[in-house]
Every structure is written in C-alpha cells, then in structure tokens.
Symmetry: C2
C-alpha cells in the first residue's frame, strides 16, 4: 500500500542532476569518458567522474579498463540499467508535456 517507500528508494538512486542523463548517454552507445562528457551539456569532468563511480556502485554501469597505450576505459550499461528505460521514457514524456504547458501559459 505504501507507495512512498519504493518511490523513495528510486529517488535515492537516481537523485541529483546528472545520473539519469549519464545513463541515457551510455545507453545511447557512448562508452568513453570524453564521449559521455560531450553528450551532456554543462557537466564537468569532476562531476562525471564522481557520478560514474556512484552508478557503478549501484550496479547500473560497468567499468572496463583496456590495457592499451594510453589506457582506454569503457563504460557499458548493465542489465539492471535497462530496467530504468520505462522510467526514463516516462520522464521524457512528462518533460515534453510540461514544456508544452509552460509555453502555452506564457502565450
């Protein structure tokens, strides 16, 4: 019955400004640090670094280091990250709707 509890759980994991955006970027096929950084307007390397660690600890992404020269690192989504897609979809839908409403109200 208590709908609040699972909602709190979800919010705890995806909180902050960047986590979902990073998931989206990685799901879009961006594996490299720089690629992800470029995909997300406004994010700094520092925040990206921090958030990537956080997401890894929540098992939403996987970090793989390749022993090339220089080293290359790849971030890939885990199966668990895939389960976030309906949520992201809902967020996208509502964001679109809300934007339309704001624009209409201004007119």
């Amino acid at each position: 019955m208590n709908i609040l509890l699972p909602v709190r759980d979800a919010l705890d994991v995806i909180n902050g400004k960047w986590k979902l955006q990073i998931i989206i970027a990685i799901n879009n096929g961006n594996k490299r640090f720089k690629d992800i950084e470029r995909q997300i307007p406004g994010i700094t390397a520092r925040m990206l670094s921090k958030e990537l660690k956080d997401l890894e600890s929540h098992q939403l992404i996987k970090r793989t280091v390749y022993d090339t020269l220089p080293v290359s690192v790849e971030y890939t989504p885990t199966p668990h990250a895939a389960t976030l897609m309906p949520l992201i979809e809902a967020l996208k839908e509502w964001g679109t709707l809300h934007r339309k409403k704001i624009l209409k109200d201004k007119a």
Copy 2:
C-alpha cells in the same frame, strides 16, 4: 532526437527529495498541512512549506484558504499534477525492482 532535453526539464521540476512524495500525499487525498506532514516521514514543516510554494508556482497544486476560525488551508492537485501519475508509477515500479535486486545480492 534529443531525449536529454525533456528529461532535464522534468528533473528540474521534480528535483529534490520531497516534491514527488508531496504530490503523492496530496493525490492520496491529504489536503491539510498537518496531514501531508504526517504522511511523509522525515519531512520538516519548513521544507514542506517551501516545497508547497514551489509546487504551487509550477502549477502542480492549488492552495485554497478558507476563512474559518482558525483559518484552514487546503492543498489540492491540479489537472497538471494528474499527468505526473505515470511517472510516479514508473518510479514506484523501479524502486520495487531495485529493492528486490539489492536484497537478492546481499543474500
């Protein structure tokens, strides 16, 4: 194509720890300040007050003052708030899923 933009818009509105929980509480029929406060474990009156204003400014709730003695105030959802339900549902689903996963991993 840019899925990030609407997602950012949505995140901007529902950001913070409390906004969605407040929406849920109000949608559950809690109209009075104290009722809402009691529904949400851990929230303080100060935060509730602040967030209610924020939500009102985003047109997600309506604040009505009744000239009784003492004054009573009621918060009710707007039609726009109803459009958040799919999002909340998705959040609830994923929160439940995530909790299950965490518990399984610990075992």
